[in-house]
Structures are given as C-alpha cells and as structure tokens.
C-alpha cells in the first residue's frame, strides 16, 4: 500500500476508546462490578456523594482506579518517550531505556530496599537513580568531546551494563529471604499495590514533559533529519536535543519509579503509531500516547484476570510485545518502508 493514510478520525477514536476501555477494565476482575456501578462510584467520588456499597467503592477506588490510571499513564509515557528518542536518534530500534534509565532506577530502588526504606523512598530513589544514570550517559561523550549520536548510544550501553552489574552486586548482598525477593519483584514491574497517593506526586513528571514533547513535535521531525542537516536548516540543535532528552528521560524515570521496568511498550508502540499516523511527530506523539495507554491498560487487565495468580506485567508485555513487534516489522517490510 502506498501513499499516506491520514485518518482524521484516528485521534478522536482513540480518545473515546481509552475512557471506555478504562471503565470496562474497572468492571472486570475477581470481584465483579457492573459498568453502571463503577460509573456511579466514580461519579460519587468526583462529586463527593455516593450511593454504592462500601465494598464496591473500596474495590473500585482503592484497587482498580489507581492501577488503571497508572497503567494508562505509564503506557502513554513510555510510548511518547520511545517515539521521541527514536526520532531524535533517527533509530527506530531504540527503546526508552537505552540511555540507562531503567538500570539506574533499578539500582536506586534496590539500594532503598536494602536500606529498608518505605515505598515512597523506594520510588524517589528509583527516580533519582534513573536520572543519575542518564546524567552519566550524557556526560561521558562530553568528556570525550564528542557530540555524535553514536557515542551517546555506546555510552548508554556502557552505563547500562555498569548498572546491571551494580544491581547484581546489590542483589548478592541482599537478605535472600526478604530483600532479594522484593528487589526481584520490583524490577519485574507491576501495578499491584499501587495507591492513588503514590501516583499523585509522579503526575506532573508524567504530564508536563509529555506536553512539552508534543509541542516540540515538529522540531523533532527536523532533528530526525540528522544533526548536521538540522543545524543547516536553522534548528538550535543542542537546545532542542537537550530538551527532548530531558523530557523523555523524565517520562521514563517516573514510569519506572512507579511500576518497575516494563519492556517492549516504548519500543513497539511508536512503530504502530507511525503505521497509523505517519512519521510526523506532531501527530505521532499524541497517537503513541493514546495507543500506549490503551495497550498497557489491556495488558495489565489481562494480567489480573487470566490465571489464578497474578503475573508480573512485564512478562505479558514481552509475550505480547515480541511477536507484535515481529508482525510490525513484517508489515513494514512488505509495505516497502525503509528500516
């Protein structure tokens, strides 16, 4: 198929599907809730009233709503940051944690768990660890006086593997009965036990960078022509690239600190987005956000509904994401797209 699909209804359709999916997701689970009940609980919570029974309200507001909100926000954040990174580095094979965010966040979280800190501190340590790792990745090429993208990617690989060794060391010193299990579960990623209070402090770090990136969408297009060409086109490359890396890193770091590492979403969803919305980032970023939110919502709902025991979400994103990515590549090859 040639020519560009310019579906004007794509964003409205996704914008409707997402809340509908969210309400449906509130209803499914071990404790059944009807759509009507869930809407009335949500309405009650928003207006301060509420007529549903306490048990339903607890399940909906205490367990499911935070988790559903988190899965949507994290899916959207990872996808937007993945799409932005791929654009800036002109490499569709890059995932949002290639600068070492996830590795750093895991080290931060593991350190906090070893220090027996509370979950709020674990989050904060993870966030700081992620940012520190990216700071290190960005500093290395500066020390080598190189501004090449490739140097940054290599530096990300170096920092990433250093972080994974560090994580291994922390795991080795952890108490195998309690701490090691906690670290392992944390790194697997998941939305269980996530409360609204955990989510709120992360909200500005998820929303503001996403909005900035979407506003900068067209500059990312120009930057995706390559650094030299973008400069010759009159783009202040260092400023734009720095802002994009900062925003995308904040998005990934806040996602990881909320839910641990979740693989595949930030790599795969931007490809689906490009297939549906074209390569222009002004459209690609919001479409990726909606698609990513929807995808992680569906996958997380699956993890808590299939099987007797709940599965860590990263296992399922991998199981769904890997073949999905394969299919996308096959589709793109067939359509003759350069990759």
């Amino acid at each position: 198929m040639r020519g560009r699909k310019r579906n004007p209804w794509l964003i409205p359709l996704l914008a409707v599907l997402l809340p509908v999916g969210a309400v449906l997701a509130v209803c499914v689970g071990k404790y059944p809730v009807t759509p009507w009940e869930s809407l009335s609980v949500l309405w009650g919570a928003l207006t301060g009233g509420g007529s549903a029974d306490q048990m339903t309200a607890n399940v909906v507001l205490g367990l499911r709503v935070p988790r559903i909100l988190a899965s949507i926000l994290v899916g959207a954040a990872l996808s937007v940051s993945g799409a932005a990174y791929q654009g800036v580095f002109q490499n569709p094979l890059i995932s949002p944690d290639f600068l070492g965010v996830s590795g750093g966040a895991c080290v931060g979280a593991a350190a906090a768990i070893l220090l027996s800190l509370t979950s709020g501190w674990v989050q904060l340590f993870a966030f700081a660890g992620g940012l520190l790792a990216v700071g290190l990745t960005v500093t290395l090429p500066m020390l080598l006086r190189s501004r090449a993208n490739l140097m940054l990617v290599l530096s990300g690989i170096i920092v990433g593997s250093a972080m994974s060794s560090l994580l291994g060391f922390l795991k080795y010193t952890a108490d195998p009965e309690t701490q090691l299990a906690a670290i392992t579960y944390w790194t697997m990623g998941g939305f269980n036990y996530l409360a609204l209070e955990d989510l709120l402090p992360a909200l500005p770090f998820l929303l503001i960078p996403a909005v900035v990136l979407i506003l900068m969408g067209w500059r990312i297009d120009v930057l995706s022509m390559g650094e030299t060409e973008a400069r010759a086109l009159g783009l202040p490359v260092s400023a734009v690239r720095g802002t994009v890396i900062l925003c995308a890193t904040l998005l990934t770091a806040s996602s990881v600190c909320l839910t641990g590492t979740i693989s595949w979403v930030g790599l795969t969803i931007p490809h689906l987005g490009r297939m549906l919305a074209g390569p222009g980032h002004t459209r690609l970023l919001p479409v990726s956000a909606l698609l990513g939110g929807l995808f992680l919502l569906v996958v997380d709902t699956l993890t808590r509904t299939i099987g007797a025991e709940e599965m860590p979400v990263s296992i399922l994103t991998g199981l769904v994401g890997a073949p999905f990515y394969g299919w996308l590549l096959w589709r793109q090859r067939r359509a003759g797209h350069a990759l």
Binding site: Q90, D221, V222, S224, T228, R231, A232, G234, L235, V237
Partner: protein, 258 residues
C-alpha cells in the same frame, strides 16, 4: 558581498591542515564551483561556510557578519545547504520534507502554517515535483530526492545555496539536469556554491572556479581563465587534456586514452 573568507585555517583533531590560509569572496548571484581531489576538503570548506564547523583561524563573514557570532537560525536564513544524499529513516511525505526548510523562519515553538505550506508548494513546483508532494520521500528516486532537497533549501528564500557534490550518485542525464538547475537558480538571483569532482562541470557552469589542493590551499578566479590544462593536471596528478571544441563552443576536459 555575501561571503568574505579571510585566511581561513581548519584541521581535524590530530590531523594535517585541511584548509590553509583560504581566501574567497562570493557576490550576490555569483556561481562558484569548487574543484579538488578526493579528501582535499571541499566539504569541509562548505561546512565552514555554513558555520557547521568552527573556524580555527581567520574569519568567515556572511553578509558582513562573523559567522561564529551568528545563530543557526540567522545563518540558515541567508544560506541554504544541499547535503549529499543521506539515508532517510522515516518516511515523511515530500511536502513535509520541504516544509522543514522553513524551520529558520518560525518562532521557537511555532509549527508551519498555511503560508509555509504555500511556499513549500511553490518550491516544489519550481523544482517540477508537485506531482510527488504527497509521496513518501523514501519512495522517490535519488535524483528526485535531491531536487526535493533543493526545494527544501530554497523554500526560505536564502541569498545563497551551497551544494555538496550534487552530481555524485546521479546518472549522466541527471547530472546535466542538476547543472541546469544550478544555472537557473543563479538566474533567479541566488548565489550558488557547488563542489564537484568533474572539471567539465566547472567549465559548463562558468562563473568563478576555485581549486583546492591537497595542502589545503585554494586558488580561485574566473573559470575560463583558472582551469588550465596545466593546473588540472597538477591537481589531479593525471595527464588529462583541455581542448576547445568548435562544435560545442566551449572548452572540454577529457581523459587521454587508457
């Protein structure tokens, strides 16, 4: 004067000098063809003229201002750059691709508007590419992509367009089309700088020629006078011939029998 280059030196870290005491001027509407053997620094010179590489000694002045004191935006408003074909990654439409040439005119968070779109369509029309506007630019031929790149350079109406080996990777017919296009741009009031490996292109384009040698020294002058058989032999270290053809009404540069 569009460009005034005085005693420009450049070398890559740890390498020999690539440009040595280069002096060059370019007037409005002038055609300048830069010749030189492989690795002589033709692209480096263009990069210095676009402010993409720092000047190490001497000065490059663009419209009277020192280029190191100018922002990317200010340079891009005056000078358009047509790089050698790059490998496209994302499949923007030809129109979207050309629109990116407006970046230097837009305020930092603005997106291209209807006027930018009209200008992009005009630039595509000038390059004879209107029929490809909505095709992915990954999907068109190398020659067409180069024309799209020229459209992207002129869409902001700079004063000068710099071409980095525009005839490389093109077949014989397309090379001639590119030279005609350069001539047309010059007639349209743009100054043009073209690097090429083919001395015949410099002769065809006329105007000013500049020759860079391996030591980084640059000689320039009217193409008609500068490009003598002796100089070209010396530059390319080959026994090539420059003859006047009655039939063509111009000088031609030819290889001897093998």
């Amino acid at each position: 004067m569009l460009y005034e280059i005085h005693d420009l030196n450049f070398s890559y870290p740890g390498g020999p000098p690539v440009l040595e005491q280069v002096c060059l001027t370019l007037k409005e509407g002038e055609i300048l063809t830069v010749l030189g053997p492989n690795g002589a620094g033709k692209s480096t010179l263009l990069n210095c003229m676009m402010g993409l590489l720092p000047t190490q000694a001497g000065a490059v002045r663009l419209c009277g201002r020192d280029i190191t004191a100018m922002s990317e935006r200010e340079i891009a408003r005056l000078a358009g750059y047509v790089p050698q074909n790059h490998t496209p990654v994302f499949d923007y439409s030809v129109l979207e691709f050309v629109l990116m040439g407006r970046a230097a005119l837009l305020s930092p968070l603005a997106r291209p508007g209807p006027e930018d779109r009209r200008e992009a369509e005009k630039a595509l029309e000038a390059m004879g590419l209107s029929h490809l506007a909505h095709r992915p630019y990954t999907d068109i031929s190398g020659g067409e992509r180069q024309q799209a790149t020229v459209a992207r350079a002129i869409v902001r109406h700079p004063k000068v367009v710099l071409f980095d080996e525009p005839t490389a990777h093109l077949d014989f017919g397309n090379q001639l089309r590119v030279l005609r296009m350069v001539r047309r741009l010059s007639e349209g009031g743009y100054a043009t700088v073209v690097t090429t490996h083919n001395p015949d292109h410099a002769i065809l384009l006329g105007g000013t020629a500049a020759v860079l040698d391996r030591q980084g020294c640059l000689r320039s002058g009217p193409a008609e006078e500068l490009l003598t058989e002796e100089l070209l032999r010396q530059i390319y270290d080959t026994q090539l011939l420059v003859r006047y053809s009655q039939e063509l009404g111009r000088r031609v540069c030819l290889y001897p029998p093998l």
